[in-house]
């Protein structure tokens, strides 16, 4: 068996049990309901800021955008202003597409090779990773924003509107929020890819499986609470509002499943800044995407540019003068 996903799977399961037993058996509601969440948010904020500041502290000495279309050149040649922008406005549009629509991933292709008379390499559009990733991220975002109703009173109208849209498919009682199952299914799809696609399996580390299992665990516990075990929602809001207003309270009657859910979320938050999940911040800072392709048109400074040894023309001529004169090449010094 593959320990690269078995260990993370076991770890997530143990984390779940830890919280569940910790609350149900040992009565550690304060630890899992107050201390860990605060600690996690703190670690998340400090870690995230530190990481981004660390990146920002490094220089961008050269402008090296990856250009994916025609450059701006002669007036009659049509430039691709989005994929090969030469202005900040173009860069902005490129980044918006990149961040909100995963444009580069949208381009993804799949290569295949047929060993036959043709020996043809063929490329087909590979849309599933894009669909999976987009569904995963948007569902996650929706779920996250939806949760703000637990931390706000009154609930802002934009959150209420989001809930309305999310619940527009009227199914069962309580009404179904589409984002929940979509998040779970998308995460399962991404996990399936890692396990069953030979190439992706080969490159995957435990650090790739762990957050997936964590998120699957979070989504599953969340869905279980909402649709199946019917937790005490008033109690939960009491607790979350307590956290949000920095006057924590532990209500009666909220079970271990809720604390396990919160604990998994806390682990995800704390883990975030030290992991690959930081791509969330990194995508904004990627120098191949967020710079204009105007390197020949405008001068850019390299903050650490230093002088180097060069072989000067004078040295060159000194070395070859006789041969140059003999060949009739012009020289600066005749002797």
């Amino acid at each position: 068996m593959n320990q690269r996903y078995l260990i993370p799977l076991t770890a997530v399961f143990l984390l779940f049990l830890m919280a569940y037993i910790g609350v149900e058996g040992l009565g550690l509601q304060v630890v899992f309901g107050v201390i860990f969440p605060y600690l996690a948010v703190l670690l998340f904020l400090i870690g995230f800021v530190k990481k981004v500041m660390g990146w920002a502290a490094s220089a961008v000495p050269f402008r090296i955008p990856t250009t994916c279309g025609q450059q701006k050149s002669l007036p009659w040649i049509k430039q691709n202003t989005i994929d090969n922008p030469n202005t900040s406005a173009g860069v902005f549009v490129r980044m918006v597409f990149e961040i909100f629509l995963f444009r580069s991933l949208f381009r993804n292709t799949k290569a295949a090779f047929n060993r036959n008379a043709d020996n043809r390499l063929s490329y087909s559009w590979e849309i599933f990773l894009w669909v999976g990733a987009l569904a995963f991220h948007y569902a996650f975002l929706t779920v996250l924003l939806r949760h703000f109703r637990f931390f706000t009173a009154p609930v802002p109208s934009c959150i209420q509107f989001l809930e309305y849209i999310d619940g527009i498919v009227q199914l069962g009682l309580p009404g179904l929020f589409v984002s929940g199952p979509v998040l779970l299914l998308a995460a399962l799809f991404l996990l399936g890819r890692r396990i069953f696609d030979a190439k992706v399996n080969y490159i995957s580390q435990a650090a790739d499986y762990f957050p997936l299992f964590l998120i699957i665990g979070i989504a599953a516990t969340g869905i279980a609470m909402r649709y199946f075990t019917k937790v005490d929602i008033i109690g939960i809001k009491e607790l979350t509002m307590g956290l949000a207003t920095f006057s924590p309270v532990i209500p009666e009657g909220v079970g271990g499943l809720f604390y396990a859910h919160v604990f998994l979320v806390s682990v995800l938050f704390a883990y975030f800044p030290t992991s690959k999940l930081m791509h969330m911040g990194g995508v904004f800072l990627s120098p191949t995407r967020n710079m204009a392709n105007n390197t020949r048109a405008k001068h850019h400074e390299n903050p650490w540019n230093y002088d180097v040894d060069v072989h000067t023309y004078a040295q060159y001529e000194d070395h070859f003068r006789d041969k140059m004169i003999e060949a009739g090449l012009p020289v600066d010094k005749k002797e």
């Binding site: 990146w55 490094s58 990856t66 799949k110 990733a133 992706v200 690959k276 791509h279 041969k323």
Partner: protein
């Protein structure tokens, strides 16, 4: 050549499923079994060349030996080198942190497509270095290595000799073509990681000779082949004789002429190796035409006689040292601006690095084409124009008399060179020139051209003879697309604007698509251009009968 694989044997080896090859399930395990295999690597840098440049640890060594004669404190040197580069390059730092291993890049690399070697997946090439980075430079790494099995969970490993050898092997199996970066959702550019990796390897004297010796030659002599000034002049004069035989016109160029309008710099591959030489003849014919018709004064220089910058494959510093000659010579000669020939990585350096490294070139003028009046706004600061931009402008304004029928035997397709395509976006200019010099033009399939173009497999200093198996495998995706248009439209000529392409693709065509020739875009211009006072041409620049002539 007998120890080389036949195309059939090479094709038999291709399998994109890492598991089926008996690869260990975790690539972190494989460092001890790194097999540096002849045919897949280039010879080690010669001590002399490393010495000339004053780079560290010059010595004779052999990658096949156990002992690479490294300096005693090599780990410390590399550690400090990584640290320094993390601060100097945001690209490096961000790219070390943000990869999610989604696999979008996995089947984009021509070396992976041609060999099926899982470590040629761009993500894994980067992970080789990233695993060291995680281990030594991240908080998680520092904690996890204290826990038994923690390194494995994190995908981290110690900087061991095996890991170093593996990095050397695979960083010199990357042509820095950037195709993977087009598909990466975070724009992670494996070329950038390879560039850092190679810089680091250079700190302990681990380069390949096909890079180190050209760099040393460029530095000393001005061009990568070490052609001395008088010989450089001789070579161009040899072309002049050929052109005179073909056209009856003397196209003798000028050298180091002070006060000329334009300094012209092209890769020395164009001066030295077929079929680049025909492209070079095309330049000579064009400049003669412009001189006669419009009085344009173009000069060549034997000092700045290399556009190609092999320093780019060594370190940023070496790149700057070689590139400096272009501005120095332009300043000394007092030209207005610089025109650059058809070359791939030369143009990436000019476009993305030169102005920042060695500029601002305020002693030059913003390039204006004196014949058409076009101001090259996109080159306003660097003051260097690509010859296809220049020629396309001339053609658009009707300034060139072209006889397309002389290229009627050429059924063309165009290979976008990686660097101009993905580092500048020079895509339509060369196509415009080709279409105005030739009636028969067909594109290769969309996934293999423009920004998705496939590398020739020999770029970034890997164009040696000893790594032929690697080169042919890397060239397969390009060749496969070419074969498609060869069979479908009868394409017999692959146009390109890169000197390495002209050398490398000729060899790859021989291997994979034997009936296709490689030509630079300005070879077509040279054939089609009607020189004032020329005799009736019967031969093209290759001294083969012009279409229609052979029947008479």
């Amino acid at each position: 050549m007998s120890d080389e694989l036949t195309p059939d044997e090479a094709l038999d080896k291709i399998d994109y499923s890492p598991r089926s090859k008996g690869e260990p399930s975790n690539w972190l395990d494989t460092t001890k079994s790194v097999q540096i295999r002849p045919g897949m690597y280039c010879y080690a840098a010669k001590a002399d060349s490393v010495n000339t440049l004053g780079l560290p640890n010059a010595r004779e060594w052999n990658p096949l030996d156990d002992d690479w004669k490294l300096p005693e404190d090599w780990k410390e040197i590399l550690h400090n080198g990584i640290k320094e580069r993390l601060e100097r390059f945001r690209t490096f730092k961000v790219f070390m942190d943000v990869c999610v291993r989604c696999g979008a890049c996995a089947d984009k690399c021509h070396f992976f497509l041609g060999t099926g070697d899982p470590k040629n997946m761009p993500v894994l090439r980067a992970e080789l270095l990233r695993s060291i980075y995680r281990n030594d430079f991240t908080t998680a790494g520092k904690i996890m290595k204290k826990i038994p099995g923690g390194q494995r969970l994190l995908g981290a490993r110690d900087l061991s000799l095996e890991a170093l050898k593996e990095m050397w092997y695979y960083f010199f199996q990357c042509t820095e073509c950037r195709r993977c970066s087009v598909f990466c959702p975070y724009g992670i550019d494996t070329a950038e990681i390879t560039i850092m990796g190679r810089e680091l390897l250079n700190l302990i004297g681990l380069n390949i000779d096909w890079i180190a010796t050209p760099v040393s030659n460029c530095y000393q002599t001005g061009n990568h082949l070490g052609i001395q000034p008088h010989a450089f002049k001789d070579m161009l004069e040899f072309f002049v004789e050929d052109i005179e035989d073909i056209t009856g016109v003397d196209c003798t160029p000028q050298f180091q002429k002070k006060g000329a309008d334009i300094l012209f710099i092209t890769p020395s591959g164009d001066v030295f190796a077929d079929p680049g030489t025909y492209t070079c003849q095309g330049y000579l014919i064009l400049f003669k035409y412009l001189k006669e018709k419009y009085g344009l004064d173009v000069t060549w220089s034997t000092y700045a006689s290399e556009g190609g910058n092999f320093g780019f494959f060594t370190s940023h510093e070496t790149m700057k040292r070689l590139n400096a000659k272009m501005y120095a010579e332009a300043k000394r000669l007092g030209v207005k601006w610089i025109l650059g020939g058809e070359c791939g990585h030369m143009w990436r350096v000019i476009h993305q690095y030169m102005d920042t490294m060695n500029g601002p070139a305020d002693f030059l003028e913003v390039p204006v084409n004196p014949i058409t009046g076009t101001r090259f706004e996109n080159a306003a600061s660097t003051k260097m124009v690509h010859i296809t931009e220049f020629t396309a402008d001339l053609i658009k304004h009707g300034k060139l008399e072209l006889d397309k029928s002389r290229n009627a035997n050429r059924i063309m397709t165009f290979h976008d060179s990686c660097n101009p395509a993905r580092g500048m976006g020079l895509l339509d200019e060369p196509r415009y020139v080709i279409e105005n010099c030739c009636d028969n033009f067909y594109e290769m399939p969309p996934n293999t051209i423009r920004e998705q173009t496939f590398c020739c497999g020999s770029g970034a200093g890997l164009n040696a003879g000893e790594n032929m198996e690697l080169r042919m495998a890397g060239a397969l995706p390009r060749a496969n697309a070419l074969k498609h248009v060869h069979e479908k439209y009868g394409v017999n000529t692959l146009g390109t604007i890169c000197a390495i392409d002209r050398a490398a693709l000729s060899t790859l065509c021989e291997y994979w698509v034997p009936d296709v020739e490689v030509a630079g875009v300005h070879e077509l211009v040279g054939n089609a251009l009607i020189l004032p006072g020329e005799k009736e041409r019967t031969e093209d620049l290759r001294m083969e009968p012009l279409p229609g002539v052979e029947e008479e």
